[in-house]
Amino acid sequence: MDYTPLLLSLQLAAVTTFFLLIFAAPLAYILVFHPMRGVSFVESFVGLPLVLPPTVFGFFLLILMGPEGVIGRLHQTALGTPLIFTFGGIVIAAMLHGIPYAVQPLKTTFSKLDRRLLESAAVLGCSRTSSFFRVVLPNSLPGIASAAILCFAHTMGEFGVILMIGGSIPGETRVASIAVYEYVEAMRYKEAWQLSIAMLVVSYLILLAVNLLERKNHAA
């Protein structure tokens, strides 16, 4: 049995979650504490992946990330290699598709923070940037963790967008969800079963670990 697709899914979820949080945390911070004019426009944009069907999202990305598209061209100029049909390509797609799953829980956590903390920080001469790193982030660790879990889980289950832009390359873009789909189509039910069961076990173990950790945190 070939477990490469499952490892690839885990790898994709981990890398996507890591980079997504780096982008989402400052974004959520700005949206909550320093909203500029026209913030509703930005927030609606952030929510788009929740509404758009993965096929629509994937179709746009195929065009944008192709050699003629804006993102594809930027990548080509910066790194000299094409982006579409690569692991990096599906990471970026999964990140864009996962934005609301990171931003929403972060926003909820940030807005629950005691504003007096930030005010004191400002009085003590903290800049916006340093209060983000020294006040907001350290006081939001549980929220950051739940955002990370949501992103990870969502990316593990990513299917439609990757089907549209991945190209199903073994070891590169053929993640578990795609592999199961193809096994079923090719009527290789034995492999479909094995990979599905493996996916089920791994997903359950991840959730179990998260729950145990949460319980321990509450008890502490």
Partner: protein, 248 residues
Amino acid sequence: MSSALVSIALIVLLNFLPGISGATQENLFIASATNFIRPLEELTEYYTEHHGTTVTLSYGSSGKLYAQLLHGAPYDIFLSADKKRPALLYKQGVCEAPFKYATGRVVLWSATYKKNKTKNWKEVLTQTKGKVAISNTETAPYGEVPLRALQSSGLLQALQSRLIFGQSVGQTFLFIRSGAAPLGFIALSQALSPEGMQGTYWPITESDSIEQWGCVPHSASNKQESRNLQEYLTGQQAQTIIHKHGYR
């Protein structure tokens, strides 16, 4: 009051849903391999006009449609892109005896490399860079055949890392058309479509032609109607239309 509203809403809804309303007109549900879209649309338009039977079309790779049929999909006729799957369905007692309706060919196609027209397909592949799109080599006959051509011409090894896979020949076409993969293998019928004419194609002379067979499932809702359509598809007039689209 509210229950009256709900029942009105239900009635309205049911009348808009196809298949649920008590329409007296016959409707045939056709499951077809993606490569056959263009001719099939033309054929069914004519058929509806002259026989009064409306049709619903569903597309996918032959492998997917085959698996769906095995699991009781409500199709009235199945048009596969190969000979193997209808024959299997016949053997398994799912379908009536298969019939051949078209013979297709695979071509290499590009919307990007238009000026290499005079070269042959192997030169085009070896003298260009970038991804090469091919349909799923297990479920799509239009992916199996070019894979065999690549193997027999000794190009597979060198090209392996450039291959990307579409779920059906329709997705493969999109990959190439959008420029995401500059080259790829599609059906000649696609290359001859208005969209396909915007690119260039190279015949793959070494490749086998693809015999496309279909069959009528035993579960068809109106077998006589399905057989009528089968007869029409294999008849002279329909064959002329099919040939016009790049089949033989």
